[in-house]
Amino acid sequence: MPEPFRVILFIIFVMAFAGLNAAYLVWCERKGAGHIQRRIGPKEVGPYGLLQPIADGIKLMTKQLFLPKGVDPILFMVAPLMVMVPAIMSFCVIPFSEIFVAREINIGLLMIFAFASVNVLGLLLGSWGSANKYAVIAGARCVSQNVAYEIPMLITTITMVMVTNTMNLNEIVRLQDGWFWHWYVFRLDISLLMPVAFLIFFVCSLAETNRAPFDMAEAESELIAGTYTEYPGMGFGVFFMGEYANIVIGCALTTILFLGGWQSPIPLDFSGFLGVIWGLFWFLLKLYALIFTVIWIRWTYPRTQFYELLNLSWKVLIPFSLFNLILTALQIKIFPWL
């Protein structure tokens, strides 16, 4: 297949994936929350409530796009897109399977982080533009939270780049070929703190995507709906889709960096079409296991206090990730043959 067609096909696929995923993650979240809370969750619209996300989507789309008094119309309208679009863009470099990737580029990891940092700008502009004091408080919280959590996340990523010597996501996964103890989370020979690095990365991705227990940006019992307070209809819907797309990106990145991406836990490889499906299966399994953990955490724990959140980052995560960086560097330098 000629390259341009392939890329276009894949981009259509990733956009559909991002959109559907966001819609059906809401369903999963509501169903999961329902079962955690001893109730059924959505069940009326379609079998098992499977058409609920579509009904929700139609409801949001048919709502009037209403501009509250005093908002900055441009910022107000652009902000949801600034959360949604970078998230979808990041999907382009996520390898779902060996060849199942829109674009294999050498700086895939860098590109994802570059796009991920636009997310917070969107939230800030949205809350500033909506001229609401609750939203502004949420926006300010959002920025300090994202700044605080981007640092340990990036330090951990730098550690991983030192280990892998590449920013190509496909290459990173290929390096974890073989049995499941080749996955970086279990590679104690590279760094003794590898499982800790995995935890740091996962916690940071929770905080980066504003998920409970770090959902300061929304904090419905304090700030009504935080950043989204003034957003009607699809404005809110796009924010929401962006948020879920970001969760998927965060979990996908965790899977790729630490859990071996599309690699199966036992070295059993198929060729051709079956191989693609096999890889896809393992990637999605790991991805959704992580996403389920995210949902599970949200419905189990209360929200942290804001200064506890920053304390956790500056006093625990950053020192640990720095220590991990140094330890890994030493281990690579001293035992280069490993």
């Binding site: 929350a33 955690i36 809370q37 001893r38 109730r39 004091k133 609750y134 408080i137 300010a140 919280r141 409970a212 227990p213 959902d215 904090a219 419905e220 019992s221 304090e222 009504i224 419905w299 189990t300 724990y301 209360p302 929200r303 942290t304 206090q305 804001f306 200064y307 506890e308």
Partner: protein, 373 residues
């Protein structure tokens, strides 16, 4: 120049309206907050959004006709308010209450207290951002509502007590149901303890947050779990025993810390004590009438000034009635506990962060219709 500088400094603060429509206020309370960033400079609760003139209504209807109003004040612990009012009338008019009726009153009021505390527990954790415990607590509370429905006929705004007794006798199914419920709740409370009370996030959000000193609680007339969380050992049931409370063996949980955690713990322990009271009352339940032999028809208390307080779920609820010897009250003053408990909010939250202040507000256990009456 100095003045200008002062003005600039003043502009650092801004005012936000918390409520009357805000998820954290559980009703139509409005709090005017002057904020410096996320720090509260000044908090002023604004009341009156659900004022229904209960006291005035008491003055222009007969004593008996006011009875249903009591259940509409604090809809979460309506039976205590029933109890306060009928006990005040009984004291004023000198009506004897059969012992069985007093026991039934104690059993139902304590069940109602547990249901109120369960709902508070769920709503409080919801305030802190944990959604799930609310549904578990409602699951338990549902059992109480079913039990109370079977004897009182209603599920929320009870009007079950009568002057001189209660409206309906309890039957065996209620008694076995209550025993089963107590057994069930005894199994559930350790689970709440493990899941919620020992949760590190919850502890960090409540411990040493929102301290209310003994002195502050006294000055504002705080009662109930708020006062007991600040180390004031006062419970009307124990210190001015009414009904048949003096016959039961129960403890008053008192915590000295005065923080949100102390108030939380007081309520969790109170549920256990209420279960103890109910068990003893069920064991001792005497046979007999549930209303006086000679039916109470037209109540006309002697001319005078009477007061009776009961311990409601939120603190001491007092009814002061001034009678001029007719069949309506000359003046009916209802002393509701949450009103006093809320009044310390402004002083207690000075300099506090907004989320902490909302945790403090949740720990006060506000029921807005009872503040406004």
């Amino acid at each position: 120049m100095n003045g200008l500088l002062q003005q600039d400094l003043n502009q650092e603060t801004f005012t936000i309206n918390l409520g009357p429509q805000h998820p954290a206020t559980h009703g139509v309370l409005r709090v005017k907050l002057v904020m410096d960033g996320e720090y509260i400079v000044e908090a002023e609760p604004v009341l009156g959004y659900i004022h229904r003139m209960h006291e005035k209504m008491g003055e222009n209807r007969t004593w008996a006709k006011f009875l249903p109003n009591c259940g509409r004040m604090d809809y979460l612990c309506a039976l205590s308010y029933n109890h306060g009012y009928v006990a005040a009338i009984e004291r004023a008019a000198g009506i004897e209450v059969p012992e069985r009726a007093e026991y039934i009153r104690v059993i139902t009021v304590e069940l109602n207290r547990i249901s109120s505390h369960l709902l508070w527990f769920g709503a409080f954790v919801l305030d802190l951002g944990g959604f799930t415990p609310l549904l578990y607590a409602f699951d338990d509370r549902e059992q109480i509502l079913d039990l109370l429905e079977s004897v009182t006929g209603s599920r929320l705004t009870y009007c079950y007590f009568r002057f001189g007794g209660v409206y309906n006798d309890i039957d065996d199914s209620f008694i076995t149901g209550t025993r089963e419920f107590i057994k069930r709740l005894r199994e559930r409370l350790p689970m709440y303890d493990a899941l919620v009370t020992k949760n590190i996030i919850l502890i960090k959000r409540l411990k040493d947050i929102g301290p209310i000193s003994k002195d502050m609680a006294r000055r504002y007339g705080a009662t109930g779990p708020v006062a007991r969380g600040s180390g004031i050992n006062f419970d009307v049931r124990k210190h001015e025993p009414y009904s048949v409370y003096s016959e039961f063996d129960f403890d008053i949980p008192v915590y000295e810390e005065g923080d949100s955690m102390a108030r939380y713990m007081v309520r969790m322990k109170e549920m256990e004590q209420s279960m103890r009271i109910i068990e003893q009352a069920l064991d001792k339940l005497p046979e007999g009438d549930i209303q006086p032999k000679k039916a109470v028809k037209m109540v006309k208390p002697e001319k005078g000034d009477y007061y009776h307080a009961v311990e409601a779920a939120r603190g001491s609820f007092g009814v002061r009635l001034v009678s001029n010897g007719t069949n309506t009250a000359y003046r009916l003053k209802l002393r509701s506990p949450t009103y006093s408990n809320l009044s310390l909010f402004g002083e207690a939250t000075k300099g506090m962060l907004l989320p902490d202040a909302l945790a403090l507000m949740g720990s006060l256990d506000l029921v807005i219709p009872e503040i406004d009456r």
